[in-house]
Amino acid sequence: MATVSLIYDNLPMLLWGAGITVLVSGVAIVLGMPLGLVLCFGLTSSRAWVRHLSRLYQSVWRGTPILVQLLIIYYLLPFLGLNVPPVLAAIIALTLNTVAFQAEIFRGGLLAIARGQMEAARMVGIRKWTARRHVLVPQIFRLVIPSLVNETISILKNSSLVSVIAVTELMRVSQQIVATTYRPFEIYIAAAVIYIAVNFLLSLLGRAAEQRLARGV
């Protein structure tokens, strides 16, 4: 009974934290999409130096822990004279990270689209970036929705790490509640349930979007 009232009393705070978690990861995912597409076209560019630079970016961001990336960004920004609030540093770090992963997802989608389409569009005189935007991008999105949902879930889970730079999202809020109630087991389990619920909703949404777009083809 005590557990129920403990959770009930702290539920508004936990949900507030969950809201921040969703906001931070949502912004990062959405910002990551156009940048990920640009990086994807960089990875498949006909210019060797563009390809190499894109691959280097990808290798660095996919090859190091997101926690270390977050700490570097958090400490680097003030060092460069940019005093941004932690939440912004968190969004920047998560975005720069997801760009590398999304680019790979988009690349997979791009490879599945017949080359002839782009050649045909170019033949009729459509500019390269216009053709990419209107011919390739809509098809890529349709193909990669399941992977994109997985990436969103992954970023949502990784956003728990931004608690270490004092962003009061779900993880941080849970820690704060534990600090005053001394009930770590119950509180962290409650937070875990919220994370699982949000991710479950996300996968449902993803499946619905997939079906809708599949009909549109």
């Binding site: 090859g63 822990p65 926690l67 270390v68 680097l76 820690q175 962290y188 389990i189 875990a192 479950f200």
Partner: protein, 216 residues
């Protein structure tokens, strides 16, 4: 810039010790993850519905959960239910049982990839169950699951950085110590990033060697 390098050299023993801890914790966690993952994948094919559902629930819960919260439940919540483990043990078990859900999915896709007809044909030809496993199922499965397995091990290595938050003295934690002692911040974390990158590349290289070995 030279200052940064001097600091790296001065603090190298600390970074190396952290890297070693990261490596052994990840090695143990990978072994647990693969063993438990294989068990889960086998149980997933069991006849009992309850067993299958329990396995599915385990996998779905782990995959929906940030590793950090699992570690917090075990490390800070554990004593409340009589589970007192030190940080390293929590780290190894946490990473291992978390990774197991992902390894299980890889094994499952491997099991499903072999057409039934092949197994029926092998049985018709008089091969025993053990022979079918050794000569038909395993070689094909290994070739298929090696790349995603290597990928999962790399993810596990990167996730292990989170153990610094529950005070395991691994690479990220020792780097934070380095920061505290020198007040230099970007330099130490860049060193850590570089070391993680090298470790990950080494595992990827090893993975490509194994891939060539298991190709049939």
């Amino acid at each position: 810039m030279t200052q940064v390098f001097e600091l790296w050299i001065e603090y190298w023993p600390m970074l190396a010790a952290g890297l070693a801890t990261t490596a052994w914790i990840c090695a143990l966690a990978t072994m647990i993850g693969i063993a438990v993952g294989l068990l889960l994948a086998c149980l997933d094919g069991a006849r009992s519905t309850i067993l299958r559902r329990t396995v599915r629930a385990y996998i779905e819960i782990m995959r929906g959960l940030p590793i950090l919260i699992l570690l917090f439940v075990l490390y800070y919540g554990g004593p409340g239910i009589g589970l007192r483990l030190n940080a390293e043990t929590v780290g190894v078990l946490g990473l291992g049982f978390y990774g197991a859900a992902y390894f299980a999915e890889i094994f499952r896709s491997g099991f499903h990839s072999i057409p039934k007809g092949q197994i029926e044909a092998a049985r018709m030809a008089g091969l025993s169950a053990g022979q079918i496993m050794r000569h038909v199922k395993l070689p094909q499965m290994l070739a298929l699951i090696t790349p995603p397995m290597v990928n999962q091990i790399i993810i596990l290595i990167k996730e292990s950085a989170v153990l610094s938050i529950i005070t395991v003295a691994e690479l990220t934690k020792n780097t934070a110590q380095f920061v505290n002692e020198t007040y230099a911040v970007v330099g130490p974390y860049l060193a850590a990033a570089l070391l993680y990158w090298l470790l990950v590349e080494a595992v990827a290289l090893l993975g490509r060697t194994v891939e060539r070995m298991v190709r049939y």
